[in-house]
């Protein structure tokens, strides 16, 4: 990241609030980190009870990364604010819109209602992990081909949800796709194109 050389600056040169929050979180984490002795105790008597900031290891898109965060940090906030993976979107933050959909051990979930601390040891897949280098995942390519979006805000969640929908075997017909994709709202109402993209990608996903 280009901002690493100016850690004390409140804002990134581009004014990004995200970078500031990440840095603030880092300082706060340092301030609240327990002294060595109490950490040693935690490893014995309280090996599983976590209070305040702790190290949370997340395996995201095949790479294990550690963050220092409180138990209340959701998977969505961990991805966006701690790991700079901002593809997953925060829409409603209450499990109603689906913009935050990611795969955990291959299952689609709302990352806004998932605690990061509870996803340790699991395989997390976000939109950033779908393509292989420059080669788009068939679902991404189909969304482009069929214009499955307008503003694009719901798209990462739509695509992750769509990949799971196909893998679950719930993309047999247009009606089935519509029913099993109902947890992903699109306020631009690109639904016909999203449905067409999913039905086409299904044939290419093997």
């Amino acid at each position: 990241m280009s901002d690493q050389s100016t850690p004390a600056a409140p804002l990134n040169p581009d004014g990004s609030r995200r970078t500031f929050m990440k840095q603030a979180g880092g300082f706060l984490g340092l301030a609240l980190a327990p002294p060595f002795l109490s950490q040693a105790e935690r490893l014995t008597a309280l090996s599983k009870k976590v209070e305040g900031v702790s190290t949370i290891s997340l395996k995201v898109n095949g790479t294990v990364r550690a963050i220092r965060a409180e138990p209340r940090v959701t998977l969505l906030d961990a991805l966006r604010e701690y790991l700079d993976l901002t593809g997953s979107k925060k829409g409603c933050d209450h499990g109603q819109c689906g913009a935050c959909t990611v795969l955990v051990d291959g299952r689609r979930v709302n990352s806004c209602l998932t605690l990061a601390i509870m996803t340790q040891g699991k395989e997390i897949t976000t939109i950033e992990g779908l393509a292989k280098g420059d080669e788009l995942h068939p679902m991404q390519a189909a969304f482009l081909k069929h214009d499955g979006f307008q503003c694009g805000y719901c798209t990462p969640g739509q695509i992750l949800s769509a990949v799971a929908c196909v893998q679950e075997g719930h993309a047999g017909s247009e009606a089935e796709v519509r029913e099993w994709m109902s947890g992903n709202l699109c306020r631009c109402s690109a639904y016909p194109n999203i449905t067409a993209a999913i039905l086409e990608a299904k044939g290419q996903m093997g």
């Binding site: 599983k48 976590v50 209070e51 305040g52 209450h94 499990g95 689906g98 979930v109 605690l115």
Partner: protein, 328 residues
């Protein structure tokens, strides 16, 4: 969301004892209701006890019926062949609920304990007898379109359980297995699990503070095998029921031998209709018979300003569900 401590329990006793010793603690499995309500400050807990490592899993036929571990997820149970074949109403109630994402997350035990969608309960700017006992109920004279018409009191008219699964479980006489901090288990029929609001709407079930739901058992019957869950809502998918019906019929020689009827979306708890069931037994299935039973099922309904439509809607839902099960 206020901060909390987190503990992952790997023995049931560890979980139930931690809950007993901390009145402000809560169990977490899928978290779909809990995290939502904690973000709204409707629920506040200083400790979350993660129960996902506990061995309350499995979907298997036993001599008492189908036993479902409380930690099984809605998606697995809804599509499980034993459920689809023997308890279609249960499968349908699960797959018509929420979204694919939420069904992957939410546990069966947590579903049974999900909380009301009453807008006044969910908004801390308003008083609410369920959230803060004694503060009053703005829903009585406020926006009550989605709220209950059966089992209400002057303290609360919320559809305390807003979901689907427990409606099917209520129709089919499911039994919940609960375990407390002493490691003692007890069985409670789901028809005796939920409490009417009365003057204490904050007390929603008979579950004790140190008790955990460990399993749900559904008796295998002919009526369960020929059962259905019909859900009527504002959208065709991903919405709570305005009215729903879980029904099961055993028909032999052209006559109804046994009938199971429960309504959702209209009662302060999943609403078993025993009087309607009695009226159906011994009769030949017909729309007139079903219509008469539906009228009895809604007898005693107390609609308010915005939800009077639910009386006729629930009756029609019930008639249609029974007609489809009877292949009329």
């Amino acid at each position: 969301m206020n901060n909390f401590s987190y503990i992952q329990a790997d023995k049931a006793k560890e979980a139930t004892a931690a809950k007993r010793d901390d009145k402000s603690a809560a169990f977490i499995a899928g978290g779909t209701t809990l995290i939502d309500l904690m973000k709204l400050n409707v629920e506040n807990h200083d400790q979350l006890i993660d129960v996902n490592m506990l061995p309350f899993r499995g979907i298997e036929m036993t001599k008492n019926g189908l036993r479902i571990g409380a930690l099984e997820r809605m998606s697995e149970v809804g599509e499980h062949p034993l459920v689809v074949q023997n308890f279609p109403a249960v499968s349908e109630s699960l797959l018509l609920a929420a979204s694919a994402q939420l069904r992957n997350m939410a546990s069966i035990g947590g579903n049974v304990l999900q909380r009301t969608r009453c807008g006044y309960f969910r908004d801390t700017a308003f008083p609410c007898n369920k959230r803060e006992p004694g503060t009053g109920c703005p829903a009585l004279e406020g926006d009550n379109r989605n709220l209950a018409i059966l089992g209400t009191s002057s303290a609360c008219i919320a559809t305390s359980y807003p979901g689907d699964l427990s409606v099917a479980l209520t129709a089919l006489d499911a039994v919940l297995t609960l375990e407390n901090a002493k490691g003692k288990q007890r069985e409670v029929p789901i028809t005796k699990f939920y409490l009417l609001p009365g003057t204490t709407p904050q007390k929603e079930t008979v579950l004790e503070a140190d008790e955990l739901i460990v399993a749900v058992t559904i008796p295998q019957t002919a009526a369960a095998r020929k059962s259905k869950y019909l859900k009527v809502r504002d959208r065709s998918s991903y919405a709570y029921a305005l009215a729903s019906a879980a029904v099961g019929l055993e028909v032999q020689g052209g006559l109804i031998r046994s009938a199971r009827v429960a309504l959702g979306g209209v009662g302060t708890q999943p609403w078993r209709c025993s009087e309607a069931e009695k009226m159906l037994v011994g009769k030949a299935p017909s729309e007139a018979v079903f219509r008469a039973a539906a009228e009895v099922a809604l007898r005693g309904a107390k609609p308010r300003e915005h939800n009077a439509f639910k009386v006729e809607m629930a009756q029609n839902t019930l008639v249609r569900a029974l007609s489809e099960v009877a292949s009329l």
